[in-house]
């Protein structure tokens, strides 16, 4: 059964307050929480333990695949499929193949990085409940939000609300579905 609301959100004025709040929430045992900020905040990541992600690995694999494909393409075309005498050079002119191999490596790696980013962030995401909070628009300007989601096992409307109030936010608001 779907809980009535998505969660509760507290609005802060500056990054320090937010980080402090985030830490508090974690200590309180909340796990299903997220913060929304107008710019990346290093400390917030450790506060919410968000440091690990798989992107670097994906990019590495992408690069290797690209490079291999690049070299194979050239090798097969010039040595196996169309062995043509070009200017008396050997069929397998490996030094000439380095550049394209390199470019293909970069291209594939970069594409993996970008689409990996979108994938891991679940973007594009046409709808998200947080936008139902009118003031949330300020998240992309100068306000800092902490949201505890209703799916968290410890979530209980009034207590959670009280807890958030105890963090001295500007305001606490419900996030409707």
């Amino acid at each position: 059964m779907n809980p009535p609301i998505y969660g509760l959100m507290a609005e802060f004025d500056d990054p320090t307050a937010l980080v402090k709040a985030a830490r508090a929430a974690r200590e309180k045992g909340f796990r299903k929480l997220d913060a929304y900020t107008p710019f990346p905040i290093e400390e917030l990541s450790d506060a919410l333990h968000l440091h690990k992600n798989k992107l670097p690995l994906l990019v590495l694999i992408g690069g290797i695949v690209g490079g291999t494909l690049g070299y194979m393409l050239q090798y097969f075309v010039t040595v196996i499929y169309y062995p043509i005498n070009v200017g008396g050079r050997p069929l397998h002119s490996w030094p000439s193949y380095i550049i394209i191999t390199f470019e293909m490596t970069i291209l594939f790696a970069a594409l993996t990085a970008v689409f990996g980013l979108l994938g891991l962030c679940g973007l594009p995401e046409p709808y998200h409940p947080t936008f139902n909070v009118p003031r949330f628009a300020m998240a992309s300007r100068n306000r800092f939000f902490l949201c505890i989601e209703s799916t968290d096992p410890l979530f209980e409307h009034d207590q959670t609300a009280a807890f958030l109030e105890s963090l001295e936010p500007r305001e606490v608001s419900e996030v409707a579905h």
Binding site: P15, R23, Y36, E43, L44, V59, Y81, R89, L120
Partner: protein, 461 residues
């Protein structure tokens, strides 16, 4: 509300952002350029001129496709001239953006944050202009897709030994990666615009582009990794592109082309002209839109320093080139260098020496570096010098190569001019659209420059 914002003047001393900016004011001021501010007359004027030039370009290209390459001044033995000169010139300019956004990011140069956005845009448009010449200069442009390896029934594939094919891969990769990098950088700001925009149409447009970005801490974490990775990938890429372009010449056995130090020489030249273009755009922009507080004199100063440093490398390369020509004892190389200095292209050669070797030394002086007007003029001088450099390398070398019987002096036609100026029009046209429709300064990165963005360690515990 944004309109009332008074221009926050650039601080004396070398701050990279004026004091008394807040998250709000930064956001509103940059967003206002796109959302509310009236477009300045000067910008509209430039836009009109750009449009005119673009039309000229259309005409020139129409005629080119209709009648053939003969409308250009190309001839035996100078089978390349303005076409490839323009290509190399534009590609070179297209280096600064990625350099600033990638290399300076890795080097953790914070001052980049306020100039990387439009520098990258500039890069992309420059590469777009450059990318056209390899197609336009073909005898049969409609067959340009034969340069790409694709499954076909012709029983033949591109020649992977040819530098031109390397170009195809290098430039297209560079263009792709630059666009991606640029777009990734834009996402958070697009979200900002989405949330600020009044006009519903714009709101929807930015909304779609922002893809539902909401500044979640989870996203920021991945986002930061992605930016670093992209920067790491773009750095070798940007260095490789002009290296590959220089291979177009070094792989050839034409005296004056066939030398090993072209790659560093070309890369330096590229950054040199790239930064010149950055300055040429930044200086007018910041005063037109009252952004002196964000693009401060410190930025100009730094850019000027980079310009001078690379300029000196370029100057050194010229000396090396002449020295190598003489020291090689190779009769063709000697003749090629001598022809450059004294032959039919001596004028162009000495002008470029003045622009690229003499001029940059003025930048040693703080006075010069701190005067936007002079810097603006200097950047134009550098752009001219770099165009001439490519022209002389290409045309002077081809016009007088191994067999004197084939020597012939190149003469340009009005259509060479039309095509070249046309691409400048295209470039400005795209750039004007950009500053009108997208934040020309990376809002979220500038926010991180503000003192209040620092998290107080003790406090937060």
């Amino acid at each position: 509300m944004a309109d009332e914002l008074e221009v926050i003047e650039s601080p004396s001393g070398n701050k990279i952002i004026a004091p008394d900016y807040t998250f709000g004011t930064v956001t509103d001021q940059i967003a206002s350029v796109v959302l509310t501010k009236q477009t300045p007359i000067a910008v509209l004027g430039t836009f009109t001129v750009a449009l005119g030039l673009l039309m000229t370009f259309m005409l020139a290209v129409g005629l080119l496709f209709g009648k053939g390459l003969g409308i250009w001044g190309l001839r035996g033995p100078t089978m390349w001239a303005w076409d490839i000169t323009n290509f190399v010139w534009w590609v070179g300019i297209g280096h600064a953006g990625t350099l600033i956004s990638a290399i300076l990011l890795l080097l953790n140069q914070q001052w980049r944050n306020s100039i990387n956005r439009f520098a990258e845009a500039m890069t992309i448009f420059a590469v777009a202009c450059a990318g056209m010449f390899p197609i336009l200069h073909l005898g049969r442009p409609w067959l340009m897709y034969w340069l790409f390896p694709y499954p076909n029934t012709m029983g033949i594939e591109p020649n992977f030994r040819s530098p031109l094919v390397w170009d195809v891969f290098a430039v297209s990769t560079y263009a792709t990666v630059s666009v991606l990098f640029w777009f990734v950088g834009l996402i958070p700001d697009l979200a900002t615009l989405r949330d600020r925009a009044q006009n519903p149409a714009f709101k929807v447009a930015y909304g779609i582009l922002a893809m539902g970005w909401r500044g979640s801490a989870r996203h920021w974490a991945v986002y930061e990794t992605a930016s670093l990775l992209l920067a790491g990938l773009a750095t070798p890429l940007v260095l490789s592109v002009h290296t590959v372009v220089s291979f177009d010449f070094t792989v050839g056995i034409v005296p004056g082309w066939h030398s090993t130090f072209f790659p560093p020489y070309f890369v330096a030249g590229a950054i040199y002209s790239g930064f010149a273009m950055v300055l040429a755009l930044a200086i007018p922009l910041r005063s037109l839109y009252g952004l002196k507080g964000l693009i401060t004199d410190k930025h100009l100063d730094n850019a000027a320093k980079v310009m001078m440093a690379t300029g000196l490398i370029v100057g050194y390369s010229y000396i090396m080139e002449a020295f190598a020509g003489w020291y090689s004892g190779n009769v063709y190389e000697e003749a090629a260098i001598w022809n450059r200095m004294t032959g039919p292209y001596a004028v162009q050669y000495w002008i470029l020496i003045t622009c690229n070797v003499v001029a940059p030394n003025a930048l040693w002086f703080k006075k010069v570096r701190s005067s936007p007007i002079i810097l603006f003029i200097w950047s134009l001088i550098v752009l001219l010098g770099m165009w001439l450099e490519r022209f002389v390398i290409i045309v002077a070398s081809l016009a007088q190569d191994n067999l004197p019987s084939s020597w012939r002096v190149f003469e340009s036609t009005r259509w060479d001019w039309a095509t070249y100026l046309g691409t400048i029009g295209l470039f400005l046209f795209l750039f004007m659209l950009f500053i009108r429709l997208l934040p020309m300064i990376s809002i979220f990165e500038v926010r991180t420059l503000l003192p209040q963005a620092k998290v107080d360690k003790k406090e937060s515990l």
